[in-house]
């Protein structure tokens, strides 16, 4: 983990130790990051064709809207994560993406990515792991919605996000902050905002979270994890134990 390099490199390094050449080509491939406003839709099919994104800073989310206005958020995305990768490789009519906060994103175009994969199979593998982890998260969310109570869902989501944030080195002294409005959390957990708010209050009363509009803080992740018996294995929080460079 070097200073001033794209966070995506750190994330990929969790799954494959990358050599200097690989890093250099990856950086060249990413090019220059672009800014995106908060609460904006992210287009995957732009004028210059298909592209995906890598988050350098800021939070985003993926969701699916129903015709009647109901919405289900599929996942949240933080720095180091990738957005729309699968859609890019296979042009499926998948779901939609949007920013939560202001974001700095690298746009990745399909042919460039293909070339990068062809030249550096280990990079391709690392990307596949990123994808696989995303899918494991979706399955875990499915379990939450199907079989966990509101309290369990909320705790689970916060633990998951917490582990991801801290693992990326974005925590703050044993805790972390989470720039999500309650509306979004509710849409991720399949709950009404009203009920989410009440559920959140219970955590507040235990001092496990503090709440401000559009921002939620977990001062002590370890304490939250202890209360929630959260199993983090599906997050595959690796540390470069894969193929050596």
């Amino acid at each position: 983990m070097k200073a001033n390099q794209p966070v995506l490199l750190d994330a990929l390094s969790d799954y494959a130790a990358l050599g200097d050449r690989e890093r250099a080509d990856l950086v060249a491939f990413l090019g220059k990051a672009s800014r995106h406003e908060a609460r904006a839709d992210l287009l995957i099919e732009g004028e210059e064709g298909l592209h995906a994104y890598a988050i350098e800073s800021g939070w985003a989310y993926s969701y699916k809207d129903m015709e009647d206005g109901r919405r289900q958020i599929v996942n949240f995305h933080i720095p180091g994560n990738t957005i729309g990768l699968r859609t890019l490789v296979l042009r499926t009519s998948d779901f939609s993406f949007g920013t939560v906060t202001d974001c700095t994103l690298y746009a990745m175009r399909q042919p460039d990515l293909q070339r990068l994969f062809d030249e550096h199979p280990r990079i391709a593998t690392a990307f596949m792991w990123l994808l696989a982890r995303d899918e494991a998260m979706v399955v875990e969310h499915l379990v939450s919605l199907g079989r966990r109570s509101a309290d369990e869902r909320l705790a689970h989501l916060l633990c998951e996000i917490g582990c991801r944030v801290v693992n990326r080195g974005l925590g703050e002294g044993g805790g972390f902050s989470c720039p999500l409005p309650q509306t979004m959390i509710a849409d991720a957990l399949g709950l009404s905002v009203v009920h989410l708010n009440r559920t959140l209050r219970k955590l507040k009363e235990q001092g496990l979270v503090t709440v401000q509009p559009g921002m939620l803080e977990v001062p002590d992740l370890r304490r939250l994890l202890a209360v929630s018996d959260f199993e983090a294995d599906y997050l595959e929080l690796g540390d470069g134990r894969d193929v050596p460079a």
Copy 2:
């Protein structure tokens, strides 16, 4: 679609027109199918290492168990579907698999599959599509659990399964039968068996389904689809419109 060839070939042909050479190598790769009893667990890591399965006949399902006994079924799998493919490519601690009915399965071993992909990129692509479609289904199930009522969930599941079954040519005169016990349907929909039973009754009363222990029949899929305003696009029910042979 030729008689007596593995159903998987039909399924792959939805996404890529395969040449004779490709078909032959695929058939050789699949080898001989093996029988598995109903209600058995399917091991992905066996003595001879990792493998995945392709269903030739019978139904299976994938699920995730919680420590306290709660269970969430992630998807059902019918002939032509694949089981554990992702787990095979990347050794993630994913979810579990089991048979619903007696099954005939082809076991696919990792190195063989790799060789097949290397030799026939178009086959690799077709498999990727299969995978992508599976993930689209999981996301759709997520939407169901998060944002649909019990009635909607049930209708949606039956429509989805119906489309898949009929698309594979396994329907019976405008309808199809579905060898799932209500316990499993409930675990897929995140409902209690009791409530599922009552929900099912409503459909029975409308003559949309008939029910016997361990078996559910939809006599007229089109009518069910009409009642449910089901959007089938995520199923990617292709018909060989991709790369020509």
